[in-house]
């Protein structure tokens, strides 16, 4: 089980409280598809992904980004039980979606950059540490049921 200090929990939950999940989610997914274009391989049904402008404006990207970040919120609400929280999603990503877990790490890194750009100096080094730890734990939990 992951150990969180009280400070780490506080840094995570207080920042999360200020996050616009719809906007940040859309931005994070769009950036993933733009910065690491090979990740587009999972989204052939999303229509026009031909340029950064197309990706950013794509309604399916926005909707899916929101869905993904909303799910991320479950980790924030269940910091002491992230493994169990993502057990079913882990199976889904392995058995049905066939997503290489490296992609979870890539998205986690992108999310950190999005948070940094929104929160600027409030995204202190201690905050970055806590959040980088969280995205790592989430990535690990999502990869856990892979076989």
């Amino acid at each position: 089980m992951v150990h969180w200090t009280a400070e780490e929990k506080q840094l995570i939950t207080s920042l999360w409280g200020k996050v616009n999940v719809e906007e940040c989610g859309a931005e994070a997914l769009a950036r993933l598809l733009i910065v690491y274009p090979w990740t587009q391989r999972f989204f052939s049904s999303f229509g026009n992904l031909s340029s950064p402008t197309a990706i950013i404006g794509n309604p399916k990207v926005r909707a899916h980004g929101r869905k993904v970040l909303t799910s991320f919120g479950e980790a924030v609400k269940n910091l002491d039980n992230i493994k169990a929280t993502y057990a079913k999603l882990s199976e889904l990503h392995c058995e049905k979606l066939h997503v290489d877990p490296e992609n979870f790490r890539l998205l986690g890194d992108i999310l950190i950059i999005v948070l940094a750009s929104h929160f600027a100096r409030d995204f202190t080094p201690a905050c970055q540490f806590a959040w980088q730890k969280l995205v790592g734990v989430v990535a690990h939990a999502l990869a856990r049921k892979y076989h």
Binding site: A30, R31, I34, V35, P52, I55, I56, D109, I112, I113, V114, A116, S117, H118, A120, R121, F123, P125, A126, Q128, F129, Q132
Partner: protein, 142 residues
């Protein structure tokens, strides 16, 4: 992985915006890297790594100068950083995985100080550039 003309322009644009803050950002990048990825501290047992450390500031300056040099010679990063590449291969031998961690922290620092500069396209170009720098510095490892 190849830097396109657009990538090169984007990277040059970022460093133009950063301007004289490069040294400061170098230090902040290192501070964040040590805080976020404590394993990176193992390469600096001889440093005072506390907040505000003069050694970290000094080293941040060097790191920033190398990135600026690479951006100024973006058509030949390998040539521009050849001596640094030798140093990393023969003496420093920093595990290649750590260059990604430094790169991530540099992106965070740019995002914090210049969020409007770091559009998704510029983010992509800068990430590619930082990968290219890391590749050059580890190219002679074996």
């Amino acid at each position: 992985m190849v830097l396109s003309g657009a990538d090169k322009n984007n990277v040059k644009g970022v460093f133009a915006k950063i301007g004289g803050h490069a040294e400061e950002y170098g230090a902040e990048t290192l501070e964040r890297m040590f805080a976020t990825y404590p394993q990176t501290k193992t390469y600096f047992p001889h440093f005072d790594l506390q907040h505000g450390s003069a050694q970290v500031k000094g080293h941040g300056k060097k790191v920033a100068a190398a990135l600026v040099e690479a951006a100024n010679h973006i058509d030949d990063i390998a040539g521009a950083l050849s001596k640094l590449s030798d140093l990393h291969a023969q003496k420093l031998r920093v595990d290649p995985v750590n260059f990604k961690l430094l790169g991530q922290c540099f992106l965070v620092v740019v995002a914090i100080h210049h969020p409007s500069v770091l559009t998704p396209e510029v983010h992509a170009s800068l990430d590619k550039f930082l990968c290219a720098v890391g590749n050059v510095l580890t190219a002679k490892y074996r």
